[in-house]
Symmetry: C2
Subunit: 208 residues, 2 copies
DNA sequence: TCTGTTGACTTACACTGTATATTTACCTCG
DNA sequence: CGAGGTAAATATACAGTGTAAGTCAACAGA
């Protein structure tokens, strides 16, 4: 009988299993029954630990944000903030579907308070007024979220993004896009991301 | 008998009805049966004009992007681009759920080619090298998408966002957030958005 | 008028989230 | 040891989902 007793179910274990499952099979594949199966349990058992599927999704986001660590203090505030956003972006790469969830769902709880607090502290110590710190915070957030999301979709808003080869777009209808084509393949995304951050920092420095 | 003949079904009419429906009832409320009902028709009839629900969603995005107009030529390239992003952001406000779809779904077709082409043309004429134009394009896109999305979620990553009053966060645990609280309410979002754009433009000007 | 095609309808199926009721497993107390 | 209570897993059920397959009626062109 000892054998039959599986590892005990818990909110934590459910959420972590769900994260792994979605990373592996995609968000659309996630159903309460399949997740139950993954845990060797009936679907309804999950409801003892999670009120409904929406809360499950929120919980998965929570898990991910919980794993984010604030970079260590440093005398270079810009580097520290850059590093924080690097980690955020890496999270998007590692868990694309859940990242989409994160930026899509109107969450109940306040997820990233520590992150925000730490971030603002850094900016304030760097000399920004509260209001300006808020603007900077939001600008950097927006840029990073947007860039990471575009990467996840493989820049699908642009031509050359994921599928379409260039054969489709005629050179005289879209000359600018065509001339860009050779570059599209070999852009270093890490560098491009940092470049974009740099643009914002440059603007901020002007106004600090 | 003439009366019974409803306005004819068509892909176009289906998509436009779906857009209105989602704007009114939310994306979760959209089902093939309800959309059929909206059009006075059975669910399965929709499949004569749309291969499946995914294509329906893509089509809705397509409709919205089709309504986006490129601002008229102007001798001030920066203003022109700003205006384009203003319209993009306005679209997000007017159709929040579909905007989420737009940035979330990996699309089949190349949606915004004209927009991209026109945009790049402007940047190239402003003197940017193709590669730099691409970076600028992506940076501005990312920022705008991210900001608009944050607005839609009412900046829910931050405290004070939508729900939580400040009562929740203790002043000595989160001093920076607390000092920010009075500002959170009366930030002019239009101005803040423009400010963020300005940061990026400033950085670009340095490097043009 | 006959015929072929198009598009709407009907039915059916597998699957979803979850409310409700029931059973099982375990802990504590006598 | 057994009894009782409690928490959690299960079983059953229902309304709603996307959509495959088959039917049927209205219209087009010959």
């Amino acid at each position: 009988m000892a054998i039959t007793g599986r590892r005990p179910l818990s909110r934590r274990r459910i959420l972590e299993t769900a994260v792994r499952f979605v990373d592996r099979e995609g968000l659309d594949a996630l159903s309460m029954r399949k997740l139950g199966g993954e845990l060797g349990v009936e679907a309804m058992s999950l409801y003892n630990h999670v009120p409904n599927k929406g809360a499950l999704l929120d919980g998965m986001v929570e898990v991910l944000l919980g794993e984010l660590e604030v970079p260590p203090e440093s005398d270079n505030w810009e580097d520290r903030i850059r590093e924080a956003y690097r980690r955020f972006r890496r999270m998007a790469h590692d868990h694309p579907d859940i990242f989409s969830l994160l930026i899509t769902r109107p969450p109940e709880a306040m997820y990233g308070v520590w992150l925000a607090e730490e971030f603002l502290k850094t900016l304030r110590e760097a000399g920004f007024e509260p209001r300006m710190a808020l603007h900077a915070f939001r600008a950097l957030n927006s840029y990073t979220v947007g860039y990471a999301m575009a990467e996840i979709r493989n820049f699908a808003l642009e031509p050359g993004g994921s599928r379409m080869g260039a054969q489709q777009l005629s050179e005289d209808e879209f000359p600018r896009l065509s001339e860009l084509k050779p570059h599209l393949e070999d852009v270093d995304r890490d560098a491009e991301f940092e470049f974009g951050l740099g643009l914002i920092f440059a603007g901020l420095r002007e106004r600090a």
